[in-house]
């Protein structure tokens, strides 16, 4: 039989073990085992694992929040500030306005969603690059976040919510399971729903999507709205897991929000997502945090090491690829 063009196409196809997610998975697993070994098993003790996963929840959700907008070729610089604002708003509702948690939680989610939709609407109406629009709204939201309670800390709100934040199921913190559930939902959204596919089409090739009757404006608004909603989820996780919030919440989330999806293999140009990659990348970054605490390393050394390791991994990846090319 002849080698038809189709055969050739599939021959070039990627196998599972060549996907970036797989590589990342291997790195994460190796890193985790190495760290477990190096700490003499301390990493695997219940308390450490608890802490490990509890503080993994927010990075995962915030990475997904950024990923959703990257999918349509947008960026959202306001994710961090928005998370902080929603967290402060939830705490304000419970402490100052006296609402119970079942009101405050949906309110925080709704606030995130609305702020995201406003971001999206602004991008669509002004036709300005989303990067700049969200840079402006980030500043505004930072102002609002500070306006809730000045520089002071809120503490001692709803016991029920706190209990949920502390709870664990089968050794895994409830908040982490929430994050995983959110990740699964996002993955299903992009792979299995019509709207999700339309978002990706808009991101991959806006003009082609438009010719196929897809509204890119709608995609942009939905993506920003979803991103805001996920920031709201991150806020709720923060409020329940940490027990105290102030206007600094969210300041350290902007870079990680980009780092997770991008290390996870998501392109900045839009049109693709990788939920597994994003989750794994968040895991990897968390691993480094823990390493720092376990060995008492100066955080600056840690920064240096992360930077060097990522650059090294990048170089190694290319060398490996070259070698593989040679050998075929």
């Amino acid at each position: 039989m002849t080698l038809s063009a189709t055969d050739r196409v599939t021959r070039r196809g990627r196998h599972l073990w060549r996907t970036p997610e797989f590589t990342l998975g291997v790195i994460v697993a190796t890193g985790f085992l190495a760290l477990a070994f190096a700490t003499g098993g301390n990493l695997l003790s219940a308390g450490t694992l608890e802490a490990f996963f509890r503080f993994l929840a927010v990075p995962i959700v915030i990475g997904l929040s950024q990923m959703v907008v990257l999918a349509v070729g947008q960026m959202n610089l306001s994710v961090g500030a928005l998370t902080g604002f929603c967290a402060m708003a939830a705490a304000w509702l419970m402490i100052e306005a006296g609402f119970p948690a079942p009101v405050a939680v949906p309110a925080a989610l709704l606030l995130g969603l609305v702020a995201g939709l406003i971001n999206g609407a602004l991008v669509v109406l002004t036709r300005i690059n989303g990067f700049i629009v969200t840079l402006a709204t980030m500043t505004i939201i930072q102002g609002l976040r500070y306006g809730v309670n000045g520089p002071d800390t809120y503490q001692g709100y709803s016991e029920g919510l706190r209990a949920f934040g502390r709870a664990s199921i089968l050794g895994l913190p409830a908040v982490f399971l929430v994050a995983i559930a959110v990740a699964v939902a996002v993955a299903l959204f992009f792979s299995r729903t019509v709207t999700g596919r339309q978002l990706l089409a808009s991101g991959g090739s806006p003009f082609a999507a438009r010719l196929s009757g897809i509204s890119n404006d709608r995609s942009v608004i939905i993506a920003h709205g979803l991103s805001g909603l996920l920031a709201g989820v991150a806020a709720v996780i923060t409020v329940s897991a940490s027990g105290s919030v102030n206007a600094t919440i969210g300041d350290d989330l902007l870079l990680p929000s980009f780092a997770a999806p991008i290390i996870g293999g998501v392109a900045l140009t839009g049109g693709m997502v990788s939920v597994a990659g994003t989750v794994l990348a968040a895991f990897l970054v968390r691993l480094v945090d823990v390493m720092q605490a376990q060995f008492g390393i100066n955080p600056r050394w840690v920064d240096l090491i992360i930077g060097a390791v990522v650059l090294g991994a990048v170089l190694l990846g290319t060398i490996r690829q070259r070698v593989r090319e040679r050998s075929t």
Binding site: G47, T48, F52, Q155, R166, S242, T248, G250
Partner: protein, 328 residues
Amino acid sequence: GCTRKSDNEAATASTGKGPDQVKVALIPGGAHPYFQPWKTAAADVKTEFKLGDATFNETSGWDQTKQNDVVKSLAAQGYNAFGIFGVAPENINSTFEDLKRQGFPVASLASCPAGDVNKADFCLSTDVEEAAYKATKAAIETIGGKGNLAHLTGNKVDSNTQRRIAGVEKAVGETGGQVKIIQVVTDIDTDLQTAQKAVADLLAAKGSEITAIVNTAYNPAVASAEGVKQAKLPIKVIAIDDDKTILDGIKDGSVAGTVLQNPVGQATVGSYGLMKLAGGCTMADAGVIVDSGSFVVTKANVDSYETDRKAKTAELRQAFDSQYLTCR
């Protein structure tokens, strides 16, 4: 030929202003609970000393460039006496110099410039090394003079942090090896979440070895009080400042003690000194460094420490009249 003009155009305005001509600007490094008392103090000194004006401006955002900008803007607005918390102690002398060249009296409040030189008229601040020393002493006392300490603090590339680390080391050194520092965690004061994560990881890694935690920064203090309470570990936490959450912690026993500084004293006495300087007085010893005092507060004196602090403030003001200022 080309010549350089000598720049003595300013330096005229300084002498002989009545209090109503003095407009004092109090400029902290950014939004932080520590500086909140300055806001009320500014209003108080204005009426008490019958100043032309006194303002409080916290918009610097922990950025030296922005702070310089804020300072210049206020000068342009007609403010003519400055009490400044320098964002970057290593750079702030240049800012002071700049203001001095224009003939404005300047006080370095709550923090002194790095190095041995102070270009402001005087520096009225907590002796941070001394405060850290006292905090550590208090910690050592609560754990009975034997055990392991962790020290949580702020930005490592800040000379004040270096001094705090030195203070802690000094106190520990005096125990002759009975007490050891097992971990110094820096750079976790940027935001609450980072601090919470770091505390959780620290407790997971070394929770069983640590007997006390000394905090010399705000967010780590809030986070470790909360974290220790949650982990139900018998660790003594020494916090910093008298934010409501921390005082509550002392009352309910989750915080063993806190080291207070004297923000009100710094603002009022600082403004007083500035007013006098504008009125024609000079410093007896230009660039003198004055300790504004630090106070250890535990459950025992949680209701009475305010009296001590007021006394210290009064004493400081007297010392300015009698000792630091020369007035004709």
